[in-house]
């Protein structure tokens, strides 16, 4: 497949913007990449029973995407393997020309997250974390692994954070938005306790297999509904973390919402504030208004960029959220990839652009 990966003139400039990318997806070439990190017992289990998640599908996703593996068609390595599996192509095609200074990894696919068998989930998450280090972060210091945790088991997740959290190869704790119970539930608190202790932001990336339809309105038919609905999953996460008192309990916790866009956040904050005014008697553990917890603890990544017909609308939303709370994300190598130099609407000033692409990320992640 012919690829034009030559840097454009603007990206060659020596004074170009350094980019902190909160969402890059590394992939295994095949499951065999994980073999060195999996015990014989679990390797045999994986090959006998396979991955079993709460959507019931043994092979494909229940909602087929519009592109194979939802990836850019130019991101398939010539030597074979999945998009995201070749560090060299990732460097040539994206990291180098875009000037990425730090890229946060979020592995998807056969990571074990959300598997029905919790022990298997623990084993595969650990393997995925070891693999990220050998295949990516040790070979390219710009990349920081996401600690993939078996989030349905809070204690095991905390143990995994404990195991690797002090290493500089790891830059965030990586969870998915669609958990079996709302993520503010106490069963997940050990994750937040450990993340806070290691000063690691917790990323909630869209997708996951909760066993529940994407909203309480039942199972939709189409990927357009499921995909658009990811922003509602993000709202469920933020509502739950705030209302269940996670940020009261863990006052230094930082949360990053990834790949759900950001347009939804102001309306949610306004809604929660109004409801809190009415019914604070039900949630006496909250000492501040929901929007204040959100303002202090929640960052949102910009991808996929909101694209209203009137650009003023998205600028308003960015202002309501706060320019210091937006983080650039590319979602490389997926089909809805955002380019750090082309994705932003006209009207974002160079200073704001720099803030979103670099300054904010440096403040959120461990540098």
């Amino acid at each position: 497949m012919p690829l034009d990966v030559s840097p454009s003139p603007e990206t060659k400039a020596s004074n170009r913007l350094a980019v902190v990318d909160s969402d890059i997806h590394p992939a295994v070439k095949s499951l065999a990449d994980l073999r060195p990190y999996v015990s014989n017992q679990w390797w045999e289990y994986a090959n006998t029973y396979g991955f079993r998640r709460k959507h019931g599908s043994a092979t494909v996703e229940p909602y087929p995407k519009s592109a194979p593996l939802a990836c850019r068609r130019d991101a398939w390595p010539e030597e074979g393997g999945r998009p995201g599996s070749s560090l060299e192509l990732m460097q040539k095609q994206y990291l180098d020309p875009a000037g990425v200074e730090m890229g946060l990894l979020g592995p998807l696919g056969p990571t074990g997250q959300g598997d029905l068998n919790l022990e298997f989930s623990v084993a595969m998450c650990r393997a995925t974390n070891e693999w990220q280090r050998d295949a990516f972060t040790r070979r390219d210091k710009r990349l920081k692994a996401g600690i993939v945790v078996p989030y349905e088991d809070g204690a095991a997740s905390a143990a995994e954070i404990e195991r690797v959290g002090a290493m500089s190869d790891y830059g965030q704790v990586f969870c998915l938005t669609r958990s079996s119970e709302p993520l503010g539930n106490r069963r997940y608190w050990p994750i937040y306790e450990a993340a806070e202790r290691y000063n690691l932001p917790v990323a909630f990336h869209v997708f996951g297999t909760s066993g529940h339809p994407v909203s309480g309105a039942g199972w939709p038919s189409y990927y357009i509904e499921e995909g658009s609905g990811h922003s509602t999953s993000c709202q469920t996460v933020v509502s739950s973390l705030v209302i269940e008192g996670v940020f009261e309990k863990f006052p230094k916790l930082k949360v990053v919402m990834v790949e759900g866009g950001f347009g939804w956040l102001p309306a949610l904050a306004w809604r929660l504030d109004k409801l809190f005014e009415r019914m604070r008697g039900e949630v006496p553990h909250l000492k501040r208004r929901p929007s204040e917890y959100i303002r202090d603890h929640v960052w949102v990544s910009t991808q996929p960029m909101e694209e209203p017909e009137n650009r003023r609308h998205v600028l308003d939303v960015m202002e309501w959220i706060g320019w210091d709370r937006l983080l650039f994300a590319s979602d490389y190598p997926h089909w809805d990839f955002d380019d750090p130099f082309r994705a932003f609407p006209a009207g974002v000033t160079p200073e704001q652009h720099r803030q979103i692409c670099a300054v904010n990320g440096r403040a959120v992640y461990r540098f």
Binding site: G216, S291, D316
Partner: protein, 411 residues
């Protein structure tokens, strides 16, 4: 960057530390005054002013002649419905000890469920037509109000039982409310558990022109765009009925995509997520391609979540429209032409500039319909419309848009 400080935190409600104590004070007239920090700011005092000064100029703050698209008569108890059941179902209720079906969607005594001025001591204004008139319709001088009864028929598992309760609810509304106040209209409650029975109920009630809408819930068993529901839409379109989708759940699923939340506050907050899904479903499944005259009203949805969701839906449509080839124009246009929203609650800060910016995001000015959501406590005092709405838009929201959304209001 101090610009970041001009975020959704600014311009909001009162700061927590300075929040005035709100007290309820029952007046002799059966109305309730709300007292904040010793100052009366109640609906009562402002209502009186509004009533005296009522003119056709809606910029003056009067709601005279407005069409209220969401008021909630409450079934007081099972006895009220038993009167409208046949012998078989009356006996069923007695023998099986059925005390009634109320869901956790609106706990009776939760602040959100019942505004202070809808209570006189322990007497509620929402379970009697005369008291509702005195508390709302008379002082506000509304011309019409649409009754949406939220009795939890949709929660029932047995479709036959659900059908019996739906019939009873509709007949109760007709006789106890519509027959007793000419300003009232109503929505048809349907046993959504069985589409044939639901269509039967639509057809039965549609003969009475005071039924203007079919009432569905935001969180049901299946998204409402699915073809299994189309016979209901076919019947509605034929009769000139609007589809009303109201906050609430059948509770056949957890209310969020990640299961059951701990607090009622989260349950209510999650209702707006169901509305997202319903808009996506109605658009993607092609309901409005199939039924081009149909309109759907999102009732009690919160409103301000919609534009960002439409940006997202439009972007996905551009990317994956091969999946839904029958959608041959942008979702924004479909929604502009077919979806309407009632204006309470309106999730935004009490800040005219912010409200104007949010309203500008909506695809058209025809989309908002006036509603008090009585007796739910969505606003304080008489602030039934958010600030920042000019006189022309106010007139549209109060009168013109509801008339256009509900063809049967002209009958």
């Amino acid at each position: 960057m101090d610009i970041g400080r001009r975020s959704f935190l600014s311009g909001g409600a009162t700061r927590l530390g300075k929040r005035p104590r709100i007290m309820k004070h029952c007046t002799g007239s059966g109305r309730t005054a709300i007292i904040e920090g010793g100052r009366v700011v109640s609906a009562s005092s402002r209502d009186a002013t509004a009533g005296e000064n009522a003119t056709s100029d809606h910029a003056a703050g009067s709601f005279k002649g407005a069409i209220d698209c969401d008021v909630h008569p409450r079934v007081p108890d099972i006895l009220a419905l038993k009167r409208y059941m046949n012998d078989h179902w009356r006996e069923t209720v007695e023998v099986r000890g059925i005390e009634g079906f109320e869901s956790i969607a609106y706990p009776n005594n939760a602040p959100l469920t019942t505004r202070p001025d809808a209570m006189t001591g322990k007497v509620r204004a929402d379970d009697d037509v005369g008291r509702m008139a005195k508390a709302l319709l008379d002082p506000q001088q509304f011309s019409l109000a649409i009754c949406n009864c939220l009795y939890a028929v949709q929660m029932i598992r047995d479709e036959h039982l659900a059908s019996a309760f739906a019939r009873a609810v509709n007949d109760w509304v007709r006789h106890e409310w519509l027959d007793r106040d000419p300003r009232l209209r109503a929505s048809i409650v349907v046993p959504i558990q069985n589409i044939e029975l639901a269509v039967d109920e639509v057809n039965r009630c549609a003969e009475d022109k005071r039924f203007v809408q079919v009432l569905l819930l935001a969180l049901g068993e299946q998204p409402l765009g699915k073809s299994m529901f189309w016979p209901i839409y076919r019947a509605a379109e034929k009769h000139g009925l609007t589809i009303g989708i109201h906050a609430g759940s059948s509770y056949h699923h957890a209310v969020t995509g990640s299961g059951w939340p701990s607090y009622y506050l989260e349950d209510y907050a999650a209702q707006s997520l169901g509305f997202h899904a319903q808009v996506g479903s109605l658009v993607a499944e092609g309901v409005f391609v199939k039924f081009p005259k149909l309109k759907a009203v999102l009732i009690e949805s919160g409103v301000t979540w919609l534009p960002p969701y439409l940006w997202r839906l439009a972007k996905f449509w551009r990317g994956v429209r091969l999946e839904v080839p029958w959608i041959d124009r942008p979702p924004m246009e479909i929604v502009r032409d077919h979806i309407r929203l009632t204006i309470q609650p309106f999730d935004a800060p009490d800040n005219a500039d912010t409200v104007r910016r949010v309203l500008d995001q909506l695809p058209s000015e025809e989309m908002l319909l006036f509603a008090s959501d009585f007796p739910h406590w969505q606003y304080d005092g008489n602030a039934m419309l958010p600030s920042g709405i000019d006189a022309a838009l106010r007139r549209k929201i109060l009168i013109d848009n509801p008339k256009a959304a509900y063809p049967r209001l002209a009958l």
